[in-house]
């Protein structure tokens, strides 16, 4: 199940988001990391050191592009943005591209934030058409990521997971399921995160994000500055138990600790994959016993 048409039939393993403070460690020590995810926008430039660093990383590692400003829910896609994104796709040979189920720009002004959409059928149709458009231009699969949100709209006609399902079915695309974002939103909007997981077409998961967050008194903020919390690991384990091992990536964006610490945190995901393996072999054994 994990390698599918939505993620370019990749089975990448457990990766880490590539961040500037880790460049020298990675290039100097060449740690054994399954793959790196880059923020596309940091490399959608004409020249200079970031691209040179990226080329060195590309010589040794698999790299997947993750974007933060395609704004699939905004009125229209920015053609210049897509052109630059495609140049980068050619450079990295990313098997797929991900971006968020959100909007963030209007009339040429950019918020640089991942703003939530009203969960309406009209919005789902709009986003799905943009996903198809981006995929046609980029010529690689485009998968959409659920965002953390802090507001819900009166205009919404369905739950977030119904909306995500509606979008990906209409666009016939995959999902980058961020289980931390699901947890953050579940606390901010009082829903059961397992309802979310059971309500989306998990066979369309191309990748999973795990991350840490910050709890405030009245809400949770998606800060990516902590280790992954046990409740988020439970959601991850649930996804893996349903679909098997999947491209997994840890995001750590602020108060970034040394590389080894971040990598160690990501590799905790292996425990759940091992549990899954044990569970599966036990199931096989008991099935054999029953047949015998």
């Amino acid at each position: 199940m994990p390698a599918n048409r939505h993620n370019g039939f990749t089975d990448l393993g457990i990766g880490v988001g590539l961040r500037v403070p880790h460049y020298s460690h990675i290039l100097g020590r060449k740690p054994a990391v399954d793959w790196f995810e880059i923020i596309s926008e940091n490399f959608m430039i004409d020249a200079g050191r970031p691209l040179r660093t990226l080329d060195l990383i590309l010589e040794q590692y698999a790299v997947v592009q993750h974007g933060v400003s395609m704004y699939l829910g905004s009125p229209r896609l920015n053609r210049d943005h897509l052109k630059r994104l495609k140049q980068l796709v050619r450079r990295t040979k990313t098997p797929f591209v991900s971006d968020h189920l959100c909007w963030g720009s209007v009339d040429g002004s950019y918020s640089h934030d991942l703003l939530p959409l009203p969960y309406t059928f009209a919005a789902a149709r709009h986003v799905a058409a943009r996903v198809r458009e981006a995929r046609d231009i980029l010529e690689v699969p485009v998968i959409v990521e659920n965002v953390s949100s802090y507001a819900e709209f009166h205009a919404s006609e369905m739950s977030e997971w119904e909306f995500l399902a509606e979008v990906v079915e209409r666009a016939d695309c995959g999902m980058l399921l961020d289980v931390n974002n699901i947890y953050v939103s579940s606390r901010n909007h009082n829903f059961d995160p397992f309802d979310y997981l059971n309500g989306v077409p998990l066979e369309r998961v191309g990748q999973v994000h795990i991350a840490g967050h910050t709890k405030f008194e009245r809400y949770i903020l998606d800060t990516h500055d902590h280790p992954v919390l046990p409740t988020v690991w439970r959601l991850y384990a649930h996804v893996v138990s349903r679909i098997g091992p999947v491209n997994t990536l840890l995001e750590w964006d602020a108060r970034i600790p040394p590389f080894e610490e971040v990598h160690r945190e990501a590799l905790k995901a292996r425990r759940f994959l091992r549990d899954l393996e044990t569970q599966r072999s036990e199931n096989r054994k008991s099935a054999q016993t029953v047949t015998a």
Binding site: V68, S109, R218, L221, A254
Partner: protein, 273 residues
């Protein structure tokens, strides 16, 4: 929602309770955002309003450490708010957030006062650093490309990442003294911010007036500031302005210096097709 998210915060960094034309922001928020058991519609909208400003202010803060030092931290923040309100980001990348800051300071010199000249020099210098960091590079013109060409018709283009500057202050030295943390360039992220992390704040004495000519450029992906002779600067500016090689060369004092400069500029790969 965009206009709500991008409205300036109050001095206490909260969402402005007044919307304008007699309306309350709380009513506007309630008209499209649901409350929950812990947060009102206003509270929920405010999270986005604050995130917007924290993110953008942080970006300008990191991109213009010199300007911050010149006009002062508090004034810099207030200026940034006014600037971003007049010129919201029009690019998908935060890298371009400060692209109109010089224009803004010329339109609104009150933000640069009393060190107006220094502030304007600084904003040009810091924008040139951003250009030098990741600006485009075109195929280099080699000596072979120039052989047999007529200087009275030859026009040389300067690499897009090279910016010649005439400054009233030695901002290269000042900038080197200021630089502690920001040699990694602008970065986009996708996480929320809880506000600015405290940065080490060693004070550096502001520079005294001194006429300097510089080219802000990069070599092997490192940004450098190269001091220029006044007439070397004039030659470069003439070339950049589209003058022929012969015409631009008239700005040099003597043929020997001109020959030395060109040898160096060619070696640095500053001319492109």
């Amino acid at each position: 929602m965009f206009s709500a998210v991008s409205r300036p915060l109050t001095p206490a960094q909260r969402m402005n309770p007044r919307w304008g034309n007699g309306r309350r922001t709380a009513d506007v928020a309630a008209s499209f955002i649901k409350p929950n058991d812990r947060l009102t519609s206003f509270d929920r909208l405010e999270i986005y309003n604050r995130q917007y400003w924290f993110r953008l202010l942080d970006c300008l803060y990191d991109d213009f450490p010199g300007l911050r030092a010149v006009i002062g931290e508090k004034k810099f923040t207030a200026m940034s708010e006014t600037y971003l309100t007049r010129y919201p980001s029009s690019s998908f990348t935060l890298r371009n957030l400060g692209s109109r800051l010089e224009k803004f300071l010329r339109e609104e010199p009150r933000w640069a006062r009393p060190r107006t000249a220094l502030a304007l020099d600084m904003v040009r210098f810091e924008w040139a650093k951003i250009i030098a960091f990741d600006g485009g590079a075109r195929p280099i013109v080699t000596i072979d490309d120039l052989l047999g060409r007529d200087p009275s018709r030859l026009r040389l283009k300067l690499q897009p990442y090279v910016t010649p500057l005439e400054l009233g202050y030695p901002l290269d030295d000042f900038s080197i003294a200021l630089r502690q943390r920001d040699d990694d360039g602008p970065q986009a992220g996708n996480a929320a911010s809880t506000g600015r992390a405290s940065k080490s704040g060693r004070t550096v004495r502001l520079p005294r007036p001194e006429r300097v000519y510089l080219a802000v450029h990069r070599l092997e992906n490192v940004v450098y500031y190269k001091r220029l002779d006044a007439s070397a600067y004039a030659v470069l500016c003439a070339l950049r302005g589209g003058a022929t090689l012969a015409k631009a060369s008239e700005r040099a004092n003597d043929a020997e210096s001109l020959r030395r400069w060109f040898e160096m500029w060619m070696k640095l790969g500053w001319f492109c097709r």
